[in-house]
């Protein structure tokens, strides 16, 4: 994998560009996101760390508009997805189809959010079949391949209830992968897991990173950040305080809030 030292790239390989993103609650009293700007490049693994309430989850959830920002723009592959209407090639204002953009971004949640009334294989094939109109047999084949890769092929016919937390999260990851996303968003994917199950989920994520998937990961797993991240962002009070390579952030943090945070999490 190529190394990425130019952090402020604005070149053509930027896939998501966040500009002056703000998320206010109670009419501006609470600023979950306070003027955040950020470029995410193709193939990059970006890990977002920070204390709880720092806005890191809000930022991640804003990227596919699960959370609707108060102000600011998010450009995904050049299109401002926060706009309700955009200009098409002919210069006409047309309604923005957010679903089309969401298909291209996979999301993994802290609480898995598998569909409990559907089997594992049904969880995985639902979106490809209903949204992309992939033939059912083809979708199932792809799903089985993915399940095999995460070692859960024999659980295809099981219901989410019958799976352990780690298994559920692995299914949630491959469910998102079934849509062939260009970006994967991870919202604290291991925070709801028993400690012994964290490793199996992180292993799947590491493989994904190795394959060159663009990933944005909000996590408290500092080991994962050190090992896998191309870039680490430290957030506090709704803003990006510091960013750099894992080495820069973990070995030589400049801001004292970063130093304090790392001290408290690494000394546990």
């Amino acid at each position: 994998m190529e190394t990425r030292d130019n952090l402020s790239s604005t070149g053509s390989d930027v896939i998501i560009s966040v500009k002056n993103l703000k998320k206010y609650y109670n009419k501006g009293e609470i600023k979950a996101l306070d003027d955040v700007s950020l470029d995410i490049r193709k193939g990059e693994v970006l890990v977002v760390i920070g204390p709880s309430g720092s806005g890191k989850s809000t930022l991640l959830r804003s990227l596919n508009l699960t959370e609707v920002p108060t102000d600011g723009s998010i450009f995904f592959d050049g299109v401002d997805i926060t706009a309700k209407k955009i200009r098409n090639e002919k210069g006409r204002m047309v309604k923005l189809n957010l679903d089309l953009h969401r298909q291209r971004m996979g999301m993994v949640f802290q609480h898995f959010n598998l569909f409990p009334h559907k089997t594992i294989i049904e969880n995985m094939t639902l979106a490809p079949v209903k949204v992309k109109h992939v033939p059912k047999a083809e979708a199932e084949k792809k799903a089985m391949d993915l399940l095999q890769r995460v070692g859960l092929k024999d659980r295809a016919k099981a219901y989410p209830i019958q799976l352990s937390g780690g298994q559920k999260q692995r299914v949630a990851i491959v469910r998102a992968l079934c849509m062939n996303p260009e970006v994967m968003l991870f919202d604290e994917p291991t925070s709801a897991l028993d400690p012994e199950m964290v490793g199996e989920v992180l292993a799947v994520m590491k493989n994904l990173a190795k394959e060159g998937m663009t990933m944005v990961v909000v996590t408290h797993e500092m080991g994962f950040a050190k090992e896998v991240a191309d870039r680490v962002i430290f957030m506090a009070e709704g803003a990006i305080v510091e960013q750099g390579t894992p080495d820069e952030i973990f070995s030589n943090p400049k801001d004292e809030r970063t130093q304090g945070f790392l001290k408290s999490v690494l000394n546990v």
């Binding site: 596919n64 969401r102 949640f109 959010n113 469910r175």
Partner: protein, 262 residues
């Protein structure tokens, strides 16, 4: 009146047994049809209340193609006439007595606006009485079922919708494939309970001449000049209809909640 209840009076009701038998059939038919109509109409109402139909939505978008931050135009743009209508309907039904609703439907709608044929179903059910009863009770229970369905939909964890939308499903598909199947499963016991409520509530339709159990009580009272004994018979009949039904519901409720445990 001599004595409260006389055992010797019960055999005197026997000649009217046929009326009570017909009453049971009418009560069950009436309740079943009511719950079906109520469920269908209730679903429509719930969808209306939860709809995202805002004809003035364009007012919310400013010249720059972005959502307005506030102001009167944003408030107006949120107006949803479909949801408003459904809410008005539900609140009116829930805030007025069912007997008033039944009289309005029977005397108002079917008495003057629509003429019903004087046919008899199963040879004894007077359609021109039965049908207005079903319509009125169905419209009434739709308002309650609407709220049951709506709360069922809203009780589904928001993460389910988030996950579905993040996969690219539209809001309609999310409702259809993810939210509704789970919601209906959750509210089935409540719907069945509504059925029990309707069995009891349907007694009021005897006031417009529907030949249910209560009407059999009325007939035997008029002919025999006794009231407590026919009422006791009705009590036993209603109890035998409702009690086992609610026990069966409770049984299935327990079984289903066992399967749902995480």
């Amino acid at each position: 009146m001599d004595g409260f209840i006389k055992l010797s009076n019960f055999p005197r009701i026997l000649p009217y047994a046929e009326l009570f038998k017909q009453g049971i059939i009418v009560t069950i038919l009436l309740s079943l049809l009511t719950v079906v109509i109520g469920f269908l109409l209730g679903n429509v109402l719930a969808m209306m209340r939860l709809s995202d139909f805002r004809p003035l939505r364009f007012l919310s978008i400013g010249r720059d193609g972005k959502l307005r931050k506030g102001g009167l135009l944003l408030t107006i743009s949120k107006f949803n006439p479909i949801s408003f209508l459904a809410t008005v309907y539900v609140e009116i039904i829930r805030s007025t007595p069912v007997i008033v609703q039944i009289f309005i439907i029977y005397y108002g709608v079917f008495g003057s606006l629509i003429d019903l044929p004087g046919i008899k179903l199963l040879g004894f059910i007077r359609f021109d009485r039965f049908f207005p009863g079903v319509v009125a009770l169905g419209m009434n229970s739709a308002a309650y079922l609407c709220e049951i369905i709506r709360s069922g939909i809203q009780s589904i964890d928001g993460g389910q919708s988030e996950a579905a939308r993040s996969l690219g499903l539209s809001s309609g598909q999310t409702l259809m494939y993810i939210v509704l199947p789970q919601a209906i499963r959750n509210i089935l016991p409540a719907i069945a309970n509504e059925f029990v409520v309707i069995i009891k509530e349907s007694a009021i339709t005897y006031t417009i001449g529907v030949q249910d159990i209560m009407s059999a009580v009325n007939a035997s009272k008029g002919a025999l000049f006794i009231i407590m004994e026919p009422l006791l018979v009705a009590t036993v009949l209603y109890f035998c209809l409702c009690f086992p039904t609610s026990k069966i519901i409770a049984y299935f409720e327990r079984r289903m909640s066992r399967g749902n445990k995480r």
